[in-house]
Symmetry: C2
Subunit: 118 residues, 2 copies
């Protein structure tokens, strides 16, 4: 199983709508970076509304993919972080420094547009 | 496996990025109709760029989902129809009457906005 990544103008959208297993999470990381490279996208919105539980491995992969996207020049907005996920991320020490967040996909895209000055 | 469906304002976006098996196609049909109902979306963009081969069952499901979405009050735009898929659809008698089409996701969204007068 793979997470589809949509391209919308200069932005990539990925909506994770089911619990991630480890293999899917790693595949998503690889696919997203490859897609940033191919499309030259300068922004990424990752919607995790559907995730209401996150383990340490997935949290690390998520933290990594954000850092890696930044290294490739794309700003990342995470949307739909559930309370339990926020608690777990902090407890695991994944602080997601400088990561933009928003309540939902629409607000995430708006925020990204503001940041990128489009 | 399920196809994630993203909500963006009044529009739903679904990007089918891998070949559909029969079960996934039926699940997608059910999920999309449910999501139209839940969100009250008045437009749907289905991107099938990645599908370069389509069999009669999937073609029928696709034709059905378009008709059903219409019945529920949502306009459908299909984007990224490959030449081989267009040929197969016609040969199978799935003419997709009155269905809007566009080259890619961005153009599909633009077309939908025009149609809906947003």
């Amino acid at each position: 199983m793979r997470i589809p990544i949509l391209k919308l103008h200069n932005t990539l959208l990925a909506s994770i709508q089911w619990e991630l297993d480890d293999q899917t999470a790693l595949q998503f990381q690889e696919d997203l970076l490859q897609k940033i490279y191919e499309t030259g996208a300068n922004g990424v919105v990752i919607d995790i509304t559907a995730i209401d539980f996150i383990d340490s491995f997935i949290a690390k992969v998520l933290g990594d993919v954000i850092q890696m996207s930044k290294l490739m020049g794309a700003k990342v907005v995470i949307t739909g972080v559930q309370p339990a996920v926020a608690i777990t991320l902090l407890e695991l020490g994944v602080t997601l420094d400088d990561v933009l967040t928003a309540l939902d996909l629409e607000k995430g895209l708006d925020k990204l547009r503001q940041e990128l000055g489009d």
